[in-house]
Assembly symmetry: C2
Homo-oligomer: 601 residues x 2
């Protein structure tokens, strides 16, 4: 069975040493609660919960899957009990508003817990995970009554939430939804329609489920301007706020899917279900984005967690498995063969995992500080800046970390060789689970359009400049630090190139909008690599300072990981840069028919 | 359910128009049989068999899997009947030696059939597929009696073969095997040991199974110099050569694995099983490589088949699925949304699949000509050259096509969005099936060491020069063809760089052998991209000639695919080149302990 230890040492490095989280927390209104002691205690307790409660259920949950029986969904054995422990431990309310019964800790802290949960049991983690988006939507757009009725229960964790967006004929293009909401005399709405791919749509973990549902009002405008958001409980709350009568919503079937078997992916049928409008009529898309942005960061963290899980088990296998001698001669002559970690190509794969885990963690914790400020900071310049950076980095967190997450879980399989393909070892499950992260809450292609089209070009490049200026400043400050030259020099060049590439696409896009789509995914990946390069340069700077201290080995390893990243991963930007510049020509030249001429006769 | 049409038009383009297979076949001793009419008839009949018989069993086979009951393995429903049709159709003997009852056609033809089989039902294809390696080993190293007893049955297809190499503690490092062969008085051997990961190790498709087993003789030298090869039948042939008494070999259990569920991956227990030495004592490794080389080409073709399968279904979905409007305005204003094939990023993914399918087919058919000459050609300079090129290209075919095969099947899932993750559509099965191809018959890392270490550097670069000279000649000949400039200019540069990179690694390797392993996988991928660039340049040349002819659209699409390949895939060489040059430093600097310092406290 796979093992897992939360990377607490590395988390502390990033939080305390790189980004000075103690001061960051102290400056937040909620900072008193987030003292270093409390933070450490929470991380350590979370680490135990993930390792001791969630990890043992990961393989069994995958094997067993979910069951739809008599209209009710059962999660795999043990999932319910684990969820009870989770609720009893107060975990759901960690970063929630004290007004709704939350503990009011900064969201960044919940994100590090989320990494641990995703690393040990992604399918389980999605039951509480989906509640965050639902809660965010209610918190920002719900009435006081809705908050009292639903949000407090979500915060407590006794109820869970869903996001019901997708329908059979539309996923990305939500303007096409057919689900209808018909007002009745009480001011409520009768919701009718079919939603698919609803994660945690039904299950036996919580006593009630709060569905956040996109639907169309009678006579609503066409397309995405005619979407409204509704809250639809599985059981109607009674006068005491407890689950009462069953509402007209039920799970029609469970999807059979590649991975995350332990999570119920439901077809949800709404058959005149009672629902209540959240936010203004026809303004559902904005509410939806509130849910979506939280969910997107969450999916990026799923990528990060899976990388760490795959890395730890790959490392352990690479130390144990004896196979061949090192090319330069036996390293463990007392054994029948050398452990495969002696082989440079195995090390290349391990270091790829390690670099993306540590780089991904820096990216998440950098972004998390922005989220903390957006959520808790005082209005002003700093908050505006944080909003801009959060908007810019969210699609990168989501898409870049899931793309490299899929790569890294596959490196895990590769390090295990043929054994990686066998279920027993647990490495192939990580690949199957990781596969969905590139798809849901907006595919990589959609994130890329969000980044390049919506965030960068629509702001005339201003949002990007907020970030590239920060990088430029760092490079300038460190320009005469010879020990950092190997990082700062290429970083400065890439940072400049990032701006030039953006300008280039922007110019072309003025002639032809298709140029945005043609460049978008390569642009997103390029942006991800440069962002991590900046963060690794900062990590290297910090490590150089500590290199003569007590924990020398840790900092030397960090420095080497940064070096590996620059030498063996960052060169991928060269390919992406050229592909960004290649333009739309070869993509758009062929007609739809011409694609099939090799086999359609 | 996924659909499939064999890409006959594209096969004919590559065979007839690019590589002049008619003349190539005519020049082979077996060429009379391989007339254009016969070749076409075989490809068309094979296309029907794959589409009508194999494809309908692919999803059901995945769902059902194999069953071990009462010591006997049952393949999924329908597999046995399909295999009977395959044998009755004479397919197994197509390219086999007439002396053993084969039809004596060139192996290249069987390889195109193999593409169709792998595209429609990889798990099924591995039952007959493994027989090829076993047959090759017996043909090259077996006694006349062994050939008569076993080879004729394998050729006919009434028996199937296996390759029993891997043991629980060793896969790559076969010198560590523990299976023992003890001679008895009759000149036979008693084989005892456990083999794992034995594809088609037991099943109900054929009346007997011929295991080719690596084992150690008493007192054999340590390591790979002490390995011998044995033939071990499941049922001992009786006096008439029919299956008689059960031998002491049986399936102990079936592996539960990520994909290829329809193929029985067996733990095989040899318990004093009767076996016969194949080839000389302690020379089993050479025999093993005979099997392995055939199998490696076969696995590369699996990659190719899966790309084509994923491409065809992705294309069909991209034409049907309506979602969003084109960024430049509605393309299908009469519909609720545009088909997603209008979006440049969807086209990028489709063209990636198309380019690797067509490029992979060129690579396989180029290599197949070398194999034809090696197998059937007269001794002499041409044959020596073919042997060199076959040796050089085999690891590229195997590893490059399976790496990009995994990428392309994943693009298929991505094009389907969330639906790609759902089993029903069949796209995620292609990913799971493709995953094993990067692992078995030598992982990508092993292929890369074979290419760079064994084939290129051990020949002082001479084997590579045979190929780069051919490319150089092509570039020189076409250097004043302005229509080809966009291909020939970058190709000539890459071809020169390939030599320089090789020299660079070679020089470093003289100081430190680890430099070979550090560069190997990037070197292999680089080599694959340049090889396809050469082949696409030739395809472009041919297409330009035909561009004004009757089938203009086909050639225009081919030219555009070549252009896409050069503009949007070939830039990856830039990254690989830089990573090859980065050297072993950052890979080897850390101790095994230091890898875990972020989480091990």
């Amino acid at each position: 069975m796979p093992s897992y230890q939360a990377p607490l040492r590395d988390m502390r490095f990033v939080m305390d040493e790189m980004f000075d989280y103690p001061s960051h927390y102290a400056a937040l209104p909620c900072g008193d609660e987030a003292s270093p002691d409390v933070v450490n205690a929470i991380l350590e307790e979370g680490a135990r919960f993930a390792r001791d409660v969630l990890l043992p259920l990961n393989q069994s949950g995958d094997e067993e899957g979910c069951l739809l029986e008599g209209g009710e969904v059962k999660a795999p054995q043990g999932f319910k009990e684990a969820y009870q422990q989770y609720v009893e431990g107060g975990w759901p309310s960690l970063a929630a508003d004290p007004e709704q019964g939350g503990q009011g800790l900064p969201p960044s802290l919940a994100m590090m817990l989320s990494e641990m949960i995703c690393a040990t049991n992604l399918a389980w983690g999605m039951y509480p995970g989906l509640s965050h988006g639902a809660a965010d939507a209610l918190r920002h757009h719900g009435t006081d009554e809705q908050k009292e009725t639903y949000l407090t229960k979500l915060v407590e964790g006794v109820w869970t939430g869903t996001m019901c967006l997708t329908e059979p004929h539309c996923g990305t293009d939500l303007g096409l939804i057919k689900t209808r909401a018909v007002p009745n005399e009480s001011g409520a709405y009768a919701i009718t329609g079919t939603k698919i791919f609803i994660s945690a749509g039904d299950h036996n973990l919580a006593e009630n489920i709060v569905h956040l549902v996109l639907a169309k009002l009678p006579g609503a405008p066409e397309g995405s301007k005619g979407i409204s958001l509704f809250v639809v409980p599985k059981f109607m709350p009674d006068a005491q706020g407890n689950p009462g009568d069953r509402n007209g919503v039920s799970c029609g079937s469970l999807e059979h899917k590649m991975g995350i078997h332990g999570n119920a992916t439901c077809v949800m049928n709404f058959d005149g279900a009672m629902g209540y409008l959240v936010g203004a009529p026809n303004k559902g898309l904005a509410c939806m984005f509130t849910m979506m942005n939280a969910a997107r960061l969450g999916v990026g963290i799923q990528g990060l967690g899976l990388i760490e899980a795959s890395f730890q088990n790959s490392l352990s296998y690479a130390r144990d498995r004896l196979q061949m001698r090192a090319l330069s001669g036996a390293q463990a002559p007392e054994k029948v063969a050398d452990p495969i970690i002696v082989h440079p190509d195995v090390r290349r794969m391990l270091l790829t995992q390690k670099a993306f885990a540590e780089g991904g963690r820096m990216l998440v914790l950098y972004t998390a500080q922005m989220l903390d400020i957006v959520e808790h900071g005082k209005p002003g310049e700093e908050k505006e800046r944080a909003e801009t950076l959060l908007g810019l980095l969210t699609p990168i967190v989501k898409a870049f970390l899931t793309e490299v997450g899929f790569e890294c879980t596959n490196e895990g399989v590769q390090i295990f060789g043929g054994h990686g393909f066998i279920k027993e070892w647990g490495m192939e499950q990580l690949v199957r689970d990781a596969r969905i992260t590139r798809l849901y809450e907006g595919t990589t292609g959609i994130q890329a359009l969000d980044l390049l089209g919506r965030k960068v070009l629509m702001s005339q490049g201003e949002s990007l400049k907020v970030f590239t200026k920060e990088i430029h400043k760092f490079c300038k400050t460190e320009s005469d630090n010879p020990a950092l030259k190997e990082f700062v020099e290429p970083l400065a060049k890439l940072n400049a190139e990032w701006g030039e590439l953006t300008m280039g696409v922007g110019m072309k896009a003025m002639q032809d909008r298709e140029e945005v789509g043609a460049a978008s995914v390569d642009y997103l990946m390029y942006s991800g690599y440069v962002t991590l390069a900046y963060l690794f340069a900062r990590a290297a700077k910090q490590s150089l300072v500590e290199l003569e201290g007590d924990d020398k080995a840790f900092y030397a390893a960090k420095l080497n990981t940064a070096r590996f990243y620059y030498q063996r991963l960052l060169p991928r930007t060269k390919a992406h840069a050229q592909m960004i510049q290649a333009g739309a020509g070869s993509l758009m030249a062929m007609s739809s028919e011409d694609f099939g001429l090799g086999f359609e006769i």
